[in-house]
């Protein structure tokens, strides 16, 4: 996994401040903190993951901007969307075949809490209440991004305003 790492344990307060986990009970937070590996820093233009790579981690972005990109032969790189401090990056660790669908690249210096997706998945399967809370939040992210993607597809600015 790329990024410069701080291998110290993740303080609970640091994790609790991220919008992704706001509203969770303390016991659930502790379980997620156990799955959290470290705080990582990505340099400007550093690739966080590549499309097709094994999706092992959930990145809770604390600061910075990340572009989700797709490279089409002959058409160059297209930015699909950008994520920012407070967003959760990556849900492919949740579903088979556990492969990233896009490239993720830091647009500026970016800091993220890295959570072990495989371990979180196992915790969620063992504790369905925790699992519900995690899936609910991922589903919220998905719903927001699906709505935004549908809106993008409409290409509204192509029509008369």
């Amino acid at each position: 996994m790329p990024g410069s790492d701080e291998q110290t344990p993740i303080p609970l307060e640091l994790l609790a401040a991220h919008p992704f986990v706001v509203g969770m009970e303390e016991a659930q937070l502790r379980r997620i903190a156990e799955c959290a590996l470290k705080v990582t820093h990505f340099a400007t233009d550093q690739v966080i993951f590549h499309s097709g790579g094994v999706a092992r981690h959930l990145y809770l972005l604390r600061h910075g901007d990340v572009a989700l990109e797709v490279v089409a032969p002959g058409a160059g790189t297209r930015v699909v969307s950008t994520l920012h401090g407070g967003d959760a990056l990556g849900w492919s660790w949740m579903f088979p075949p556990y492969r990233w669908a896009f490239d993720a690249r830091a647009l500026v210096e970016t800091e993220a809490i890295v959570v072990d997706g495989e371990q979180l998945r196992r915790c969620a399967e063992a504790d369905h209440e925790l699992g519900y809370q995690v899936v609910r939040r991922v589903a919220r992210e998905m719903a927001d991004r699906l709505q935004a993607a549908r809106f993008q597809l409409l290409d509204v600015y192509g029509e008369r305003p």
Binding site: A148, Q152, R160, P161
Partner: protein, 418 residues
């Protein structure tokens, strides 16, 4: 006896200044010269010239910056730029900054005299219009040249420039009797022999000397309007419609959300917000565009993003790999924007779908729909609530809008056939 008109020439080359003075000698006007932009601005503040010739390339303050500052101080000043590096893009840039015309070097004495004559004539016109405005009781529609409310008044095109691949801006000489406009209002522009279209006014309300309209080519009339060139004539009726609630917004946070060409009808409101910045709480300007090339007024947006007293964010629907800003629809900027939702006022313009999604996000943030204002421009034909083309129930979009609170507009959005 009328005071003599004053001409100021700003150029770092003394030989050019001497030549200009020699050409102007004997004319019925006063002349003054300055060898730098800074000196020119100082002198202008002292002598209040009617016409200023400004060299583009000077050490220190660049000529176009001088033009902008001069017109910022007095929008009725007529500025003409002179340069030895004449290009189309420079001419367009000069026009955008408020220059009246452009004189390439080298010029003959006759060319310089003719330019001075036209500049002073223009200044006299602007002052006359300003006098008419000051005797008028307030902003209101033109009298229709005494031929009824549907008669357009002919206006000359002072300048025209491309904004994006499908959008242009026209700078019009305000018609006789023009009393100004309020941000959010629109004019009916008549392309003679083709038809009329409702086009919002996109310039600074304080700029008395010209009337800006940004036009997107989307049909026969707008295609024809976009083909107009400097010197052509267009028919104008207006201004019509309800303005943005800037008085009501005083003391509150203001959230401006613009998608695509929606920035055009909001730009006069942005001018007002910035010119009276102290009157308002936080000012957020959230802009969405299809691609970087479709972003309207990019230089102005760049300036907005550089200001410390407002928060201006831009997002694109689609971007190539080199773009370092945000990608995503404009509504994604709303959930994390910092404003006091309990009291803030929002002004939203863009395609209807965008306005619906944006209004829904603002209401999700806790804003009352009555404080979310949108601009509807559906089906307007006459502009004055006569023809009924834009009527929905008891409302005429042209007369009761185009700016409406979302509490009223929501029902109109759901009416599909209007």
């Amino acid at each position: 006896m009328e005071p003599r008109q004053k001409i100021l020439v700003i150029d770092d080359e003394e030989v050019v200044l001497d030549a200009c003075l020699a050409i102007l000698a004997g004319g019925d006007y006063e002349t003054a010269t300055a060898t730098s932009g800074e000196e020119g601005l100082r002198l202008a503040a002292e002598i209040h010239p009617d016409l200023v010739f400004v060299d583009v390339k000077m050490p220190g303050l660049p000529g176009l910056e001088v033009v902008e500052r001069l017109r910022g101080e007095d929008p009725s000043i007529v500025a003409i730029v002179i340069t030895g590096y004449a290009t189309v893009s420079l001419a367009v840039e000069a026009m955008k900054r408020g220059a009246f015309d452009f004189l390439p070097k080298p010029f003959t004495p006759a060319e310089f005299r003719e330019m001075a004559r036209r500049g002073l004539e223009r200044r006299a016109e602007v002052l006359e219009q300003s006098r008419e405005r000051s005797v008028a009781e307030g902003a209101g529609p033109l009298p229709g040249a005494g031929a009824g409310p549907m008669a357009p008044v002919p206006c000359r095109v002072l300048g025209r420039w491309e904004e994006t691949h499908d959008t242009i801006t026209l700078a019009l000489d305000p018609p006789a009797g023009w009393k100004g406009f309020r941000p959010g209002q629109f004019n009916m522009l008549y392309a003679f022999g083709v038809g009329e279209s409702a086009i919002s006014i996109s310039g600074d309300p304080a700029d008395a000397g010209r009337l800006l309209h940004t036009v997107r080519r989307v049909g026969k009339v707008t295609e024809e309007l976009a083909r107009l060139q400097r010197g052509d004539v267009v028919g104008v009726r207006g201004p019509y419609g309800t303005p943005w609630p800037l008085g009501y917004s005083a003391g509150r946070d203001v959230v401006v959300v613009a998608g695509g060409i929606g920035l055009a009808p909001l730009r006069p409101a942005v001018h007002e917000l910035l010119e009276n910045r102290d009157r308002y709480g936080r000012v957020l300007i959230l802009l969405g565009a299809r691609t970087a090339a479709d972003l309207l007024y990019p230089e102005q947006v760049q300036e907005l993003r550089g200001r410390f007293d407002i928060d201006c964010q831009v997002t694109l629907d689609s971007a190539a790999g080199g773009w370092r800003g945000r990608v995503g629809v404009v509504t994604t900027l709303i959930p994390r924007a910092e404003f006091d939702a309990e009291r803030a006022v929002a002004m939203v313009v863009g395609p209807e779908i965008m306005m619906r999604f944006a209004a829904a996000e603002l209401v999700n943030r806790g804003m009352s729909p009555s404080r979310v204002f949108v601009s509807l421009e559906r089906n307007m034909k006459c502009g004055i609530g006569l023809c009924g083309h834009c009527q929905v129930g008891a409302k005429f979009v042209c007369r009761d809008g185009a700016v409406l609170g979302y509490d009223e507009a929501e029902a109109l959005f759901l009416v599909r056939e209007v």
